[in-house]
């Protein structure tokens, strides 16, 4: 029988001593189909140990769901056995259940305010909660009122539908700390969960990274099953993708950063991940949990952090100049010209749908009042009109823009961008 522990799949336990309610010792083999996959599984197992971003991970026993649940992982050992054949490694670890394994709920503490901005934007409707696929009666949203619920399908890496989560937005800020609970079986815990993934072979295969270790590889992407941002890869520009459940596929658009200082002008600037077209800095992982992922990188001029929240249809990118006293221009936009129209005071949306029926949206929030948003409607990019020492931008997609779903229109994405939400999730006893 195969076992999934957190993001590590393809594990076959050969020896285990479950005892309901106390720790379970597991030993087994790793059924990796390649050396790269073995290395990924090894990292996934080791990365779960003492990972403060996600103390309890879902564990799914494919052929015996009675032991499914949420466990803390400890005493991990992994050893490689074969460089060619599968199984290619052995592992051992201890699983300690949270209370009784299946008796867990996700308790999410959330707080939202209007993102400080110089555009006089005072209203927003960010995603402040989500309900996972579950038994609805177990959810507890009583402390959040006036929520708008939006069903967002989440896809897996290949494009198959994983499940649908109910994303909840709220117009106006939750000014005080608020908590909600959502309960889901371990088998659906990762529907719509945020992930940091990397590719060891130039994009042919992708693996999820566990914990905050710094990945050595430089081709990375962040995803939450709804949108996915991929770094540039040499001369290949980065990608912003949206999941289309109707067609069970990811639909992409090429994007990069903009350092343009006049408008209109063909976009010019580093790629996603600050690649120059031939080389790219490595990223460090700032945060890696199912509710939020954040990766950082820097070049000689600036430090950039890309973050993605659960349930979001947009990726946020914050940047800061790292040369003392230096002010620069930095934004984002499509790699090839896309005729656009302005939306609000903050962004551009494609004037026409792309070949897949979608419209990319790019937004910017300047740091200082002197700096407004420079918007090139001929080429589609946005950046800060006046050089500054920091700023924040977003890239999103209006899926099926001819008839966008509730909460997915360009203006909605702006509301979600200007809502600044902090949240942390922990697994607690359900009853």
């Amino acid at each position: 029988m195969t076992l999934s522990i957190g993001w590590a799949t393809g594990l076959r336990p050969t020896k285990f001593s479950p005892s309901y309610g106390s720790s379970i010792s597991v030993e087994g083999t790793i059924l990796g189909s390649s050396v790269n996959e073995f290395k990924a599984r090894r990292q996934q197992l080791l990365g779960m140990q003492s990972n403060t971003d996600e103390l309890f991970v879902p564990v799914v026993w494919v052929t015996d769901s009675t032991l499914d649940g949420y466990y803390a992982v400890s005493n991990v050992t992994v050893q490689r056995k074969s460089t060619t054949a599968s199984p290619n490694g052995v592992f051992g670890l201890t699983l300690t259940p949270l209370s009784q394994a299946g008796n867990a709920a996700a308790e999410v503490t959330v707080q939202s305010v209007v993102r400080t901005n110089v555009l006089s934007i005072a209203t927003m409707a960010p995603v402040v909660a989500y309900a996972l696929p579950n038994t609805v009666s177990e959810d507890d949203f009583r402390f959040l009122s006036s929520l708008t619920s939006i069903n967002r399908p989440a896809g897996d890496d290949a494009g198959a539908l994983l499940g649908t989560i109910a994303v909840k937005t709220k117009t106006a800020a939750i000014s005080s700390q608020t908590t909600f609970r959502t309960v889901t079986p371990a088998s659906t815990a990762y529907v719509g969960a945020c992930q940091i993934q990397y590719s060891p072979d130039g994009g042919a295969t992708w693996f999820t990274w566990s914990g905050r270790q710094v990945p050595l590889t430089r081709l990375w992407r962040i995803t939450n099953g709804h949108v996915r941002l991929t770094s540039a890869n040499g001369a290949t520009p980065g990608k912003l993708e949206v999941y289309d459940s109707a067609n069970t596929r990811w639909e992409s658009t090429s994007i990069q950063h903009s350092t343009n200082t006049s408008n209109p002008q063909a976009i010019s600037g580093p790629g996603i991940g600050l690649g120059t077209g031939s080389s790219q800095p490595t990223i460090s992982i700032a945060y890696n949990s199912p509710e939020l992922v954040a990766v950082k990188c820097n070049d000689a001029t600036r430090e950039v952090t890309y973050s993605l929240q659960r349930g979001a249809m947009l990726v946020v990118c914050e940047w800061a100049s790292i040369v003392s006293g230096a002010s620069i221009t930095f934004g984002v936009g499509p790699s090839s010209a896309v005729a656009s129209t302005t939306v609000g005071s903050w962004g551009n949306v494609a004037a026409s749908t792309d070949g897949q029926g979608n419209k990319p949206v790019y937004g910017y929030s300047p740091n200082t009042a002197a700096s407004t948003v420079r918007r090139d409607v001929t080429n589609g990019w946005v950046n800060n009109n006046t050089a500054d020492t920091k700023g924040v931008m977003m890239m999103g997609v209006v899926l099926d823009s001819a008839a966008p779903a509730t909460g997915n229109a360009a203006a909605d994405l702006g509301d979600q961008f200007f809502g600044l939400v902090s949240w942390s999730q922990r697994m607690v006893r359900r009853s």
């Binding site: 305010v113 954040a294 600044l420 902090s422």
Partner: protein, 463 residues
């Protein structure tokens, strides 16, 4: 300082405008050549004199410590302290002390004082119309910080040098205390004129408004899960807590003064009892030993105790040589929503995560003498090297990490001149203690547990 498990803990405690304390242990195998330097007896001048050594702690080794100049070594110092007690035994040596402000006011309140006759320049700092009146106004007199700096310079206190002086805009004329040390005098004057001071590790004193001396815009955030640097902010992981306490909460205060005057103050925040709708009565009765001050005393005590006291405590912060990034007097960001430590009006983003921290003033910092630090003894023996390396013999803390502990009833409260004036008018004697420890930052000597205040009159503590 002895930990719960009986082990002696080697720590340094630094407190804003207080001597603080430190303790250090040396091993039994410390050589005699160093043991003999650990003495207060100095006969080198032909007369037996008291010559306290000092310690200098640096974050990195100073290879040329044997020949380096005093000024250069002190410029590298993370902490410079006076050794106030030496305990020697075969198996160990225990040293304790405080920071250099000890020289301006030791545990008994003794310290230098600019003595002189009425024709002495010192008297020029006082109004001629009344004795011991410190004057700092626009008419022909320099401002308070400059005055203090000039006194330090002119009277050659023989310990500290005058550092950076920045004046505040507060003016006035106050009656000074008639007893106490120069440090107490500085505490009083600074309280009156919205000034603070800092004794630096290089023997200089800086005087000025808090914003001139300390970081009022935080560059550090302490939170359970922040590490590294994001933009201009450094993250330090730490544990913190908020404690709410109604032990001193009152609904009314009734005060009687020496002249038989009677004053009351009523809280605008009613107290609901267990029964529910009835307003509860928690009446505090107090007295003032100054005639005519009953009403003011009552109102001052009411202001302190009208609402539950919230104390924010930062329990620990894991950071080597924490004082490189944060000193007592600096403001830091604290954020932990599960401890109610958050401010939704204050947004920052740290490593892509939004946070809403409070701004918190660090008043006391306690950090361990841990492996990696270097300890030097500053002697004054003309025949020996100025500095001696104690590092090989120090018993270091192995736990690592810094610890910060600061308690205050209001995380952003700064003692202003109006507070000082309110305290002053409650008791014209000059030394005023305002009730609970939370307001002790400016009240003279309350922060030093070993000393009780003395002076011509005692203010009355509430409760």
């Amino acid at each position: 300082m002895v930990a719960e498990n009986g082990k002696t803990v080697m720590t340094i405690t630094e407190t804003l405008m207080r001597p603080g304390s430190w303790n250090l242990g040396l091993r039994g195998d410390t050589p005699d050549s160093i043991r003999t330097l650990l003495t207060y007896n100095d006969s080198s001048s032909g007369t037996l004199s008291t010559n306290p050594p000092h310690i200098v702690i640096t974050s990195a080794p100073v290879p040329n410590y044997a020949t380096i100049s005093d000024a250069s070594m002190l410029a590298l110092s993370l902490y410079t302290g006076v050794v106030t007690s030496i305990e020697k035994s075969r198996s160990k040596i225990a040293l304790t002390g405080s920071n250099l402000s000890w020289w301006f006011g030791n545990l008994n309140g003794a310290g230098p004082w600019p003595v002189g006759s009425s024709s002495d320049a010192f008297s020029s700092y006082f109004s001629t119309s009344s004795a011991y009146s410190f004057v700092a106004n626009t008419v022909g007199h320099p401002r308070a910080a400059t005055l203090l700096g000039n006194i330090i310079l002119a009277f050659a206190m023989n310990v500290m040098t005058r550092g950076t002086i920045t004046d505040s805009t507060t003016l006035g004329q106050v009656a000074g205390p008639v007893a106490g040390s120069f440090r107490e005098f500085m505490d009083f004057i600074c309280g009156q004129f919205d000034l603070e001071y800092r004794f630096n590790n290089n023997r200089s004193i800086d005087i000025g408004p808090a914003s001139a001396l300390f970081s009022t815009t935080p560059s550090v955030i302490v939170s359970p899960d922040t590490n590294g640097i994001s933009g201009t902010i450094r993250g330090i992981p730490g544990e913190m807590s908020t404690k709410y306490d109604i032990g001193s909460t009152v609904s009314d205060v009734v005060a009687v003064d020496m002249g038989g005057g009677f004053g009351t103050a009523t809280s605008t925040r009613p107290i609901i009892t267990m029964i529910g709708t009835n307003n509860g009565s928690l009446i505090q009765r107090s007295s003032s030993d100054s005639a005519g001050n009953a009403s003011t005393t009552a109102q001052n005590l009411m202001n302190l105790n009208t609402s539950p006291r919230a104390t924010v405590k930062l329990d620990s912060a894991a950071q080597y040589a924490l004082t490189r990034f944060c000193r007592p007097g600096d403001y830091v960001y604290l954020y932990d929503p599960s401890a109610d430590i958050q401010d939704s009006t204050n947004q920052i983003s740290f490593n892509g995560r939004p946070m809403f921290p409070i701004k918190y003033r660090v008043r006391t910092l306690t950090w361990p003498v841990e492996q990696g630090l270097n300890v030097y003894l500053r002697t004054s023996k003309p025949s020996a090297s100025f500095f001696v390396d104690l590092t090989p013999y120090v018993v270091f803390e192995t736990g690592g990490g810094g610890a910060t502990d600061s308690t205050t009833s209001d995380s952003t409260r700064v003692w202003t001149s109006s507070d000082a004036a309110a305290a002053q008018t409650a008791d014209t004697g000059g030394l005023v203690i305002n009730g609970a420890a939370s307001a002790s930052a400016r009240a003279v000597s309350v922060g030093d547990a070993t000393r009780l205040p003395s002076g011509p009159s005692q203010a009355t503590r509430g409760g």
